[in-house]
Symmetry: C2
Subunit: 210 residues, 2 copies
DNA sequence: ATGCTTGTTCGGATTCAATTCGGAAAAAAT
DNA sequence: ATTTTTTCCGAATTGAATCCGAACAAGCAT
């Protein structure tokens, strides 16, 4: 941001701009969204955009940041609930909540997420990654038997990255070959089987070595 | 394309433009790549770009198509070799080949894949998806016991999409939390455990119902 | 209230990249 | 050699992004 809004009026302007960006973006996609459209929807002059944002790209960046922050806001309060559930239920619950989250506000987030990759939202994904990492860690602590698994960092890396992309990609497809529910079930099964198999292996190791 | 190149000279021009796009794109990213840069690198006038491409976006589209076609060119001849291997070996081999492929030409493909999402290259990914689907199908046919698994379409969807993204993302990260070998091993293990568990489940079903 | 300073808004002017266009040069066809 | 087709180009056009300075509002001391 070129400048920080000090007065209430200015803060409202900044907010209106971001809101307008979500709307314009959801409607036209990022490439076809012009500064004039954003300004018109926000009800401000074009020049005002540049008071608080260096350029159009930065507006989208702030949008992505807000999206990521809101997603974390979804995950964080969910954590204590998820860690009590069996792993497959936890995965299912998380993904269904995520879907509902994307579909609120007339699917605004969904439409943005669809185009989100079209922007550099990967860059802002790190906090989300951290939040999910934290969720995994919490989960493992509540289920000591899962700590027997090997390669926990590797597997959580795969599940988090692979999971995010599989979901976003699915949402981006106009005619996905499988339903969202099938995707959710598949991811839950995948995670479930992996942990079961690893725990079984760890137990047999115990028998052999101890 | 606005026009089709008929003479050899013209075909060379088109090729030079695409090559130049790869180079410019790898260096500056898609947003910062200008038509003038492409033209300069290709050694042609700006006007020439528009002889064979409707606009800049279309140049990127053709690039994406070439990238996808080249990737398929990697996978296709690999298929008969992979289908004979145990599943974990097949996954390892495929991923290592894919990494080498992305890193050739000074990482040109990798850099493009990194920004690829920034373009609409997802749109052109379908043939790649098909090729991988075909690989999975071939594999299943060569290993009849795996056909007992449930939800094969769902699981291949997850593995293909999740796998591609995990690899591209990992290779793009400046300081990844795990090594590439660990990632490969993790993905191989994940796939391996899943199939083992599913096959075991299917067998116990057989016992119960038959 | 009044004058002063700081913050805010705006839209015309400017800049810059994408795209167009018309004619010159090269290749092919006659 | 001449005509026709294909190719190439870069100056001119266009339109969106960005800048800027005047006009307007808010805060604040006197």
């Amino acid at each position: 941001m070129a400048r920080v809004p000090r007065q209430k009026r200015a803060k409202e302007t900044v907010n209106a701009i971001i809101e307008a960006s979500f709307i314009a973006m959801a409607e036209h996609g990022p490439a076809a969204t012009t500064t004039r459209q954003i300004a018109d929807i926000a009800g401000v002059g074009v020049g005002s955009l540049y008071e608080y944002f260096d350029n159009k790209e930065q507006i989208f960046e702030v949008m992505s940041e807000r999206f990521v922050a809101d997603t974390i806001g979804l995950i964080h309060p969910l954590t204590p609930i998820l860690v009590r559930k069996p792993i497959k239920d936890a995965v299912r619950e998380l993904l269904q909540q995520f879907r509902d989250f994307l579909q609120q506000n007339d699917g605004r987030y969904l439409k943005c997420a669809r185009h989100a990759m079209t922007l550099g939202f990967e860059a802002h994904m790190e906090p989300l990654q951290k939040a999910l990492q934290e969720l995994v860690t919490q989960y493992l602590m509540h289920h000591p038997e899962t700590l027997k698994m090997r390669n926990i960092p590797t597997m959580s890396y795969i599940m988090i990255n692979g999971g995010i992309f599989a979901v976003v990609r699915h949402l981006s497809e106009p005619a996905p070959p499988i339903s969202f529910d099938e995707l959710v079930e598949g991811l839950a099964t995948m995670v479930g089987h992996y942990t079961e198999r690893e725990i079984a292996l760890a137990s047999s190791q115990d028998v052999q070595s101890g």
